[in-house]
């Protein structure tokens, strides 16, 4: 990127600006980007006219820093320079190109407590910080809060566009929003988290036999799916190995509640991961009810915010007829992801005898900063024990 055209000033001379405020829109080869301010102060002068094409590095505006305003004695009035184009611009979807930008509160008196990183990400993704509830110290908005909001926004955007199936370009932008959310989370994971992988081949015979018997007494609507058994078994095994039900945030933070993020594939590509709350405390029927409620809403991108943000660990299941095993990528700040492959008949040796059994390959990807392979191995053994005793689920 070499140059950009200043399309619109969002601020005028004399306006007060805060760190993270959007001051202008610039059209570049990579799309329309918003220029944010990294200083607090007052706009002293706007140097470039709207519609002017300028090379990267051009000073766009002069900002008098806040310190200089408050301390009237300062006559120097340090001038902040603005670089027009960053190397990492966010392309703003056309549908959101409204005149009033909801991203940043223009009211400079309304001070939002947020980390600089959170502000920056919020600005890049057009998130209004004043609408967020901070989970940091004194209610400060953290990077995680913003990332959650982005996930929700992407969901809403996709939902809004899903109503217009005839409009291909809008469909694409919905799919793109989901795609870029996945891309961001997975890139971050693979670049930051040292994954270790384990796999155990588990006998599903007892679990499936038990389930089929149990389903005979159930109406079609109440029938159990293997996924319900997997979820419950994972939740119970996590109670025994709590180190995997945790976040890696300044060290290992164990989570008291077990909320399992269940990967749901979207019909038009992409995935969404709603949280199933406390399945360790629920019966299989209750878990099945949760699935019946949440999966259709997940596919329609109609999830509640808590369902998108509460997961403490992720479970992904390939389902019938799919690949035999799946090795997941951890969703940060979680520290583990469990993957169930396709349940299939396999030759199985037991007590010196060969037989044919329904088997499933279960993988665990763990964050090696948080736990070691031995912990992961203990978890898989515990999970296997629960699956061999389905009546205890």
């Amino acid at each position: 990127m070499e140059d950009g055209t200043l399309m619109q000033w969002r601020m005028k001379k004399g306006d007060t600006v805060n760190r993270g405020d959007v001051i202008a829109e610039v059209e570049t080869q990579k799309g329309l980007i918003e220029i944010e301010v990294f200083e607090e102060g007052t706009i002293e002068d706007l140097l470039i006219d709207e519609g002017t094409k300028v090379p990267v590095g051009t000073i766009l505006a002069l900002i008098k820093p806040k310190v200089a305003i408050e301390g009237q004695s300062s006559t120097q009035g340090e001038k902040a320079e603005l670089q027009p184009i960053e190397e990492k611009p966010e392309v703003k979807p056309k549908e959101e190109k409204a005149k009033e930008d909801p991203t940043v509160s223009r009211d400079s008196k309304e001070k939002v407590m947020a980390s600089p990183l959170a502000k920056r990400i919020a600005t890049e993704h057009h998130i209004d910080l004043s609408q967020l509830q901070g989970s940091g110290e004194d209610g400060a908005i953290t990077k995680q809060d913003v990332e959650q909001a982005i996930t929700q926004q992407n969901g809403k955007r996709a939902k809004a566009t899903a109503k217009k199936p005839s409009d291909d370009s809008t469909d694409n932008s919905a799919a793109n929003a989901v795609r870029s959310a996945i891309a961001a989370a997975m890139s971050k994971s693979k670049s930051e988290i040292p994954h270790y992988y384990l796999e155990k081949n588990m006998d599903m015979m007892s679990a499936l036999t038990w389930m089929n018997e149990a389903n005979k007494d159930r109406t079609v609507k109440k029938r159990l799916l293997p996924a319900a058994l997997m979820i419950k078994a994972v939740a119970l095994a996590l109670r025994k190995i709590p180190e995997l039900n945790a976040f890696w945030e300044n060290g290992l933070q164990l989570k008291e509640k077990i909320n399992i993020g269940f990967v749901v594939a979207l019909r038009n590509g992409g995935i969404i991961v709603p949280a199933l709350h406390s399945p360790d405390l629920k019966t299989l029927d209750e878990i099945m009810e949760d699935l019946n409620d949440i999966i259709p809403r997940a596919k329609a991108l109609k999830l509640r915010s808590s369902e998108l943000s509460d997961s403490t660990i992720t479970l992904t299941s390939i389902g019938e007829g799919g690949a035999d095993s799946i090795y997941g990528i951890i969703y940060p700040p979680q520290v583990a992801i469990i993957g169930f492959g396709n349940i299939s008949e396999q030759a199985f040796a037991d007590k010196g005898m060969l037989g044919v059994r329904s088997m499933v390959r279960v993988s665990l990807a763990g964050d090696h900063r948080a736990t070691d392979g031995l912990t992961g191995s203990r978890f898989l053994s515990s999970l296997n024990n629960y699956l061999q005793n389905p009546e205890e689920l």
Binding site: P165, N212, K216, R223, L225, R267, E320
Partner: protein, 83 residues
């Protein structure tokens, strides 16, 4: 109930589960789960809808046999006739 009516109920149920389904493009020999990309949850939802609309009981042991659209329609038409 005529076979055509059963077929229409199957199509409308499929459209409920997979809204983007072009049911007209399905042929009786199609393995509709693969063609429409239905996962096991979608399939269970389909069984629930058919159970509600046709007032029949589809035992779980029969799930494995229901592969093609033609088989499903024949199976349901027979069930409706029997019950």
């Amino acid at each position: 109930m005529k076979k055509e009516e059963v077929e229409q109920i199957v199509f409308s149920s499929l459209r409920q589960i997979a809204p983007d389904t072009e049911t007209m493009e399905l042929s009786p020999s199609d393995h509709f789960r693969d063609t429409l990309g239905l996962d096991s949850f979608d399939f269970l939802q389909l069984m629930v809808l058919l159970d509600e609309k046709l007032k029949i009981n589809i035992p779980e042991k029969d799930y494995g046999e229901i592969t093609t659209l033609g088989f499903l329609v024949d199976y349901l038409a027979k069930k409706v006739g029997d019950e």
